[in-house]
Subunit: 237 residues, 2 copies
DNA sequence: ATTTCAAAAAATGTATAAATTTATGTTGCA
DNA sequence: TGCAACATAAATTTATACATTTTTTGAAAT
């Protein structure tokens, strides 16, 4: 509906650093629980403290950074408990948003969804055929697809909240090096959810969507690369 | 369960300004859509720009302040549409959280709820008997009561989101000078919700809770003091 | 009436100073 | 000799003062 913003681009340094920091946090280049020292940040991102503080405060609100009074900023830590809780919450809230979107369904929205699903299906999940290599374009379209599913619920704040949960969980996905993903036919799952929505079967759509999220979480929860305690526990047994 | 924080108090200026600004925003002393100029803020709150920027950024995340790139901070504007949307969202999300809280019910939680309701019932809604005068202690206990209702759902992020919605809606209540409130026996409504929870009747509890929120919104939606367009429309008719 | 240009006001960013926390090393005591 | 407590020093966060850039405002000219 709306094209890419024709606005002259914000252009403030704070926004630039915010974008760069955010990318580095989501990708895992800035490791969980790492301390974010001003010294390091100013040198790395070549900017002053004011824009950095601004960016860090915004990221704190996004749940990607943690601030401890008078002892600095830290990359938000990860844990199996948090992953489970975030997933649970996302399932609850997106189920709600999806039902409301469907209850207020319009042809225009259904067409948006068809388009989003189609575009996503035409882009490869991985850049490399032999090994898994994150495809930014796929991630972008994936994001739009899920945003569209809940986007017709009629609540900006609810949509924004879902976006935050999505970001936080996206970081877990990126941190997890699990190559099991490609074996899942996520494309089929997206198509199935769309079909349930188009057929007006809310219960089924919600069931498929939550299963979709839960499966992803289950894989990551078993990843020793991100949760070393799993390895320790296995050795004890 | 946990008493007042025994921590040595944050004590950074940014936190102090944040608290003061927040109070002034919620109370309406800083009027909606007013521009928040640094000059004015530094003089009013007697502090530098760095702590102020920090506070303003946090308040932006709370939805009480709006930031427009390169043209400063503004008190978030109010509108009938936003009030309706916030209320709708709050009903949806708290219904969800309440159901989950009840599904995971424990004696300890039920006792917490009984206590919260009891304490709230023992404090007068208004400081003055003749005219309505906001009682901070009642507001505090009211907040705790509603927080308790949803507090056992098992999701910190969901609780935090409900808190944000509550704050934003609280500002509408404070902005509205409607004296119609005292005529409502809100105390009875709180007691009825609690009883429905204790009896395990989730559908009833949710119905009472959402009706509670909706009634409040309906009163404010008709308040000409906060929405002048109502007066204009009436004159046209 | 509209546009252009210049002056001002205000937001953003840098550099420096103050206050607080963390780390280090020494002294006193068991 | 080992350990704990205290005082000191280093590092880091927080805050202030100053400089730069952008936006807004207002007047003059087309």
């Amino acid at each position: 509906m709306t094209a890419a913003s024709p606005l002259p681009v914000p252009s403030t340094q704070a926004s630039h650093v915010y974008d760069r920091l955010r990318e580095d946090l989501l990708s895992g280049r800035l490791a969980p629980s790492r301390k974010l020292q001003m010294r390091f940040l100013t040198e790395t991102y070549q900017t002053g403290q004011t824009p950095l503080r601004e960016a860090l405060n915004r990221l704190t609100a996004d749940g990607l950074v943690e601030v401890r009074e008078q002892r600095g900023f830290y990359v938000k830590d990860v844990s199996r408990a948090e992953l489970a809780e975030l997933t649970k919450t996302r399932c609850w809230v997106e189920a709600l948003a999806l039902r409301e979107s469907m209850a207020a369904s319009t042809p225009a929205w259904e067409e948006q969804l068809v388009l989003a699903q189609h575009r996503l299906s035409r882009v490869p999940r991985s850049l490399s055929a032999t090994e898994f290599e994150d495809n930014p374009e796929w991630e972008r379209l994936h994001r739009i697809y899920h945003r569209t599913l809940i986007g017709h619920c009629g609540s900006q704040s609810l949509i924004a909240f879902c976006g935050q949960l999505a970001d936080q969980l996206y970081r877990y996905r990126r941190l997890s090096i699990s190559k099991a993903f490609p074996s899942r036919h996520v494309g089929d799952e997206h198509a199935a959810i769309m079909e349930a929505v188009l057929s007006g079967n809310a219960d089924l759509a919600v069931k498929l969507l939550t299963a979709h999220y839960q499966r992803t979480a289950d894989v990551i929860l078993q990843d020793e690369a991100i949760f070393p305690e799993l390895r320790d526990k296995a050795e004890q047994t």
